[in-house]
């Protein structure tokens, strides 16, 4: 009986400590933020990723990648280059893409916002995301190569069934 009360009390206090609307998120130096509904998955699935506060003059890639060492380019990423923009593994988000990006790059919404479904998988190439660290990532696009200031990561974990 006492055990039950303790469990219920713990469950209530945990629920209060984590507000219902708080989503896992990552915030960059300029206040830009990405958030997802959850970071824990039992199997591969699509996760809705929201971004806001991004500098609309700098294009980004949104992708699911192996978490890199600090300061390094996130790679490899799921799905490889999405040249047709039809997969859900990576997205090029840019409001001022060059002419060749027409129809491929997705412009930012006002306020530097976006929302896309990103495919989360247990494996990225030979990497096993149940053992290796994988993450929803944002980085500057290829027009700002070497710019690591806009990197954001939300690590993903896979739970055992």
């Amino acid at each position: 009986m006492r055990k039950k009360i303790v469990i219920v009390a713990t469950a209530i206090s945990l629920a209060l400590a984590t507000p219902a609307f708080a989503s896992p998120s990552a915030t960059g130096a300029q206040g830009q933020t990405i958030s997802v509904a959850t970071t824990k998955f039992a199997k591969g699935s699509n996760v809705s990723v929201s971004g806001r506060g991004f500098d609309e003059t700098i294009g980004i890639y949104l992708a699911y990648c192996v978490l890199p060492k600090k300061g390094l380019l996130p790679t490899p990423c799921g799905g490889g280059a999405d040249m047709q923009g039809v997969k859900e593994a990576s997205y090029w988000i840019s409001s001022n893409a060059p002419a060749y990006g027409a129809g491929l790059a997705i412009p930012f919404q006002p306020g530097g916002r976006f929302r896309q479904l990103v495919s989360v998988t247990k494996k990225i190439g030979k990497f096993d995301c149940t053992k290796d660290k994988c993450a929803i990532t944002v980085r500057s696009d290829h027009l700002h190569e070497g710019d690591r200031l806009h990197d954001l990561f939300i690590p993903i974990t896979f739970t055992k069934k």
């Binding site: 806001r52 506060g53 609309e56 003059t57 409001s95 001022n96 027409a102 412009p107 930012f108 919404q109 006002p110 306020g111 530097g112 916002r113």
Partner: protein
């Protein structure tokens, strides 16, 4: 008699020379050195040079123009023989630290006027760019002369009219453009040639007839060009814009509420800023983004949202919703 003729000639020269050699009220600070500007081929010649000193205040336009009169800027400058030199970089610009090559011609056309530079004094005119449109401190005219000979065939100058939301734009004269404002660009050319637009700066984007400012501070430039054809000269130029903060709006406000009813108000402005609501009066109650109508009449709500530096203004507005 001969002496009096000399006096008259001296008097005339004394009147005319100060006009032809008029200098800006303030001496320029830039230094430009180039290949000779004399006896140029009227069929087309390239002036090669470079800046050894460049202003720090703004970029510069460098154009082939007729000689200025007095302190005014030249009345006619070529629509096509011009360079935009700026350290800011970007498409369509020339770096002030690199070599400068400008193809000049024995005749120029500007704003519908054609001038024969083999008989009219033409030269290179330097001025600060659109970021300092009224600053004439760097205005300078370097005269050029052309050798006798056939000039390149004179093509008719095109007349390009560009409008922003129906209002004509003036080349090299900045217009204001607010962050994410609805800015429809329309253009016509007298020749009927297709006009191509491109945003020359990353802070704006141009697509399908719409120019969009991605920031609320700084400058943008919209470049245009036509290809020209056998009878009409190619045309190009740019329209500068000064960026201003955007205006936040609330989209999707309820048009009415039933007495005793509750409705949700939008959580964010059109730019994604969180909106704070406060009921004014006792006809309704607001909690978070939910409004509950208590009495008949109208519900007056104050809505506020934060500004974002260099991007958009704060929102502070009052909304009236009828209670039915």
């Amino acid at each position: 008699m001969f002496n009096s003729q000399k006096k008259i000639a001296a008097l005339v020269l004394g009147l005319v020379l100060p006009i032809l050699t008029a200098l800006p009220s303030q001496a320029e600070t830039f230094a430009f050195a180039s290949s000779p500007l004399t006896n140029l081929d009227p069929a087309g010649s390239t002036v090669n040079g470079g800046f050894t000193k460049f202003p720090t205040t703004a970029g510069m336009y460098m154009q082939q123009c007729i000689a200025p009169v007095g302190s005014a800027r030249p009345a006619t400058c070529s629509d096509t023989i011009q360079l935009w030199v700026t350290a800011a970089g970007g498409p369509g610009t020339t770096s002030p630290t690199g070599p400068i090559a400008l193809k000049v011609a024995g005749s120029i056309t500007g704003k519908g006027v054609t001038v024969d530079c083999t008989t009219t004094q033409c030269g290179l005119f330097f001025r600060l760019d659109h970021t300092a449109p009224t600053d004439t401190s760097e205005d300078k005219f370097l005269p050029m002369t052309f050798a006798k000979g056939a000039t390149a065939p004179v093509l008719a100058a095109d007349e390009i009219t560009v409008t922003l939301n129906g209002k004509p734009l003036v080349r090299n004269v900045p217009s204001n453009l607010a962050y994410r404002a609805d800015a429809k660009i329309a253009a016509t050319s007298k020749s009927g040639l297709v006009i191509t637009f491109t945003s020359l700066t990353p802070d704006c984007t141009y697509s399908n007839g719409t120019l969009t400012a991605l920031k609320g501070k700084g400058q943008c430039a919209l470049g245009y060009s036509t290809a020209g054809n056998a009878t009409t000269a190619a045309a190009s130029g740019n329209f500068p814009f000064i960026l201003t903060p955007g205006n936040q709006k609330i989209i999707g406000m309820p048009k009415s509420i039933k007495k005793g009813g509750t409705k949700a108000l939008p959580l964010e402005t059109n730019f994604g800023s969180a909106i704070t609501y406060k009921a004014l009066g006792k006809n309704c109650v607001v909690e978070g983004n939910l409004v509950n109508a208590k009495k008949s009449g109208s519900c007056t709500i104050k809505a506020t949202a934060a500004a974002k530096a260099d991007t958009w203004e704060a929102l502070d507005t009052t909304v009236v919703i009828p209670i039915k």
